[in-house]
């Protein structure tokens, strides 16, 4: 990465607030900079505006005031660098796995042959090449989520937004997905903004954790995570991991009480 690239933050929010209609403020003025290569996790109780924040960065909703820049552009103009992974796999049930992974490429008018090749590569990456022709109803929840991840990564995003993608999975599956997502990041080098309720997940994945407090949503505490990469399952049983998790948990309790 050269100096010029580093200079432009991947995501830049200044004075961003959000209010739906005349309701209470969902986000109080928020300033935030996310640099290229970071894995930032937004952690907080319900109502702290973390999903709203993600939608603002994705350009799916507009801020009431303040400005948002993604890779130096407005979110709507930056959609080519963005990809979103939802809590539900949100697959199209009438398309098989391969066609689902192709969706983004298809919407961006990539030629059929090229997109099928690309989608095939992604399926290999998430180890699902054997179910390429299978329809979503035949898949387990975990496999559906892997299809969803492959679909998001197919368009070569440089910023990946994830809204509690593993919340519906059991703990073991979730741990495996956390390892998987770090492996994919290692290969593809995207920047990530990740929303979760789970402290362990936040510590395992992130380079930085932002604990948000509710009513209105605001930053309560920020923790850089000084654990090195690559991270493996073994990290979860180290004292450093535990110490970090304890600190973050304490801050989270503080955020809920605040």
């Amino acid at each position: 990465m050269n100096a010029a690239e580093v200079a432009v933050p991947m995501v830049e929010l200044s004075g961003v607030t959000k209010q739906y209609g005349n309701g209470p403020a969902v986000l109080s003025p928020l300033d935030l900079e996310i640099h290229k290569g970071e894995f930032v996790t937004l952690l907080g109780p319900s109502g702290c505006g973390k999903s709203t924040l993600l939608k603002l960065i994705a350009g799916l909703t507009t801020p009431t005031s303040g400005t948002i820049r993604v890779d130096g552009l407005t979110p709507k103009n930056a959609r080519e660098v963005l990809a979103f992974i939802f809590q539900d796999p949100t697959l199209l049930p009438w398309r098989n796995v391969l066609e689902n992974v192709c969706l983004g490429l298809e919407l961006e008018h990539m030629a059929r042959e090229r997109r099928v090749k690309k989608a095939g590569e992604l399926l290999e990456l998430v180890r699902l090449e054997h179910v390429a022709k299978v329809y979503p109803r035949e898949l387990s929840g975990g496999m559906k989520m892997r299809v969803s991840i492959a679909r998001a990564l197919a368009t070569n995003p440089r910023l990946l937004l994830m809204d509690e993608p593993f919340a519906a999975l059991d703990e073991m599956a979730r741990d495996r997905f956390n390892e998987e997502i770090l492996r994919l990041r290692e290969e593809q080098k995207w920047t990530a903004v990740f929303v979760t309720h789970s402290v362990a997940e936040a510590v395992f994945l992130s380079t930085r954790i932002m604990v948000l407090a509710p009513n209105p949503g605001r930053v309560h505490a920020i923790f850089p995570v000084a654990l090195g990469f690559p991270r493996t399952a073994a990290l979860r049983s180290t004292p450093e991991f535990d110490a970090m998790a304890v600190k973050v948990s304490r801050a989270l309790r503080g955020a809920i009480a605040a």
Partner: protein, 263 residues
């Protein structure tokens, strides 16, 4: 497969049992043939007038099919319009309920007056009576798309046409078939009812409804029974055809089709 054969055999057994009961009632209570003809007489009457019967059947089938096809095309078009905004739906949706609640028998004379007797009038009645379920179901299918899926499409800068053809319309296909299945039965009923009022007035040229009316005035009860049976078969045939189409389009991916596949 074995279970399916067994099911067919059982259904046939019920049919035979019904015929036996029917014949038994005639023997035990000495019912006059003009009140309740025996099954064999019905079969004979059908055989004797087979060309006439088939002619009536095909005419009614054509009217019902025409009305149904028109209501599918017009219904989808109206549903697409309704799906565009909640405001449009609120304003116009109540009027589609009128289509459903209007007593078709009451407006048939009006249509007869406007269009004149014959096939166009009957097709129009079949169309009117089968339109509402298509509009209601397709609209529901078009607007009940998962919000996140819409967001996903927006994230890829999808055009409105892409959202429509790659998301909303495919999502509405199962609902469309629910609507068409209901509408197909209604279209046949509509065609027959329509013929009672607006069928062709020349003997030998009317459809099933007209023939039923004619047979009843002539006290040809055996032929009347044959006509009613033909009408029932027609309605069943329509629904069955739609179910086959539905299975063909949905078996790969939709939950409703899966039970058909594995039964």
């Amino acid at each position: 497969m074995r279970r399916r054969v067994l099911g067919a055999v059982n259904a046939a057994a019920v049919f035979v049992a019904l015929l036996v009961v029917w014949q038994a009632i005639i023997w035990i209570f000495h019912v006059a043939p003009y009140m309740l003809p025996p099954p064999l007489a019905v079969l004979k009457a059908a055989g004797a007038r087979l060309p006439l019967l088939l002619n009536a059947l095909s005419l009614t089938a054509a009217e019902a099919a025409g009305g149904l096809a028109a209501s599918v095309v017009v219904g989808i078009a109206i549903a697409l319009f309704f799906a565009r905004s909640r405001w449009v739906r609120r304003m116009l949706y109540p009027y589609t309920l009128l289509l459903q609640t209007v007593p078709i028998i009451a407006i048939a004379p009006l249509i007869l007056m406007w269009v004149g007797a014959g096939m166009p009038a009957v097709t129009l009645i079949a169309f009117i009576i089968s339109l509402a379920p298509i509009i209601a179901n397709v609209t529901q299918g078009l607007i009940s798309v998962d919000r996140n899926l819409v967001h996903l499409f927006l994230m890829h800068n999808a055009s409105p046409a892409q959202v429509l053809f790659k998301l909303r319309l495919p999502h509405a296909v199962p609902a469309l078939f629910v609507g068409v299945r209901i509408a197909s039965g209604l279209a046949v009923i509509g065609a027959i009812t329509g013929e009672l009022y607006a069928g062709s007035s020349r003997v030998g040229e009317g459809g099933l409804g007209y023939s039923i009316l004619y047979a009843s005035t002539q006290l040809q009860t055996d032929y009347l029974f044959a006509l009613v049976a033909a009408a029932t078969v027609l309605g069943f045939g329509f629904v069955f055809l739609v179910m086959i189409l539905e299975w063909y389009f949905l078996y790969r991916w939709h939950e409703s089709a899966r039970t058909l596949e594995t039964d």
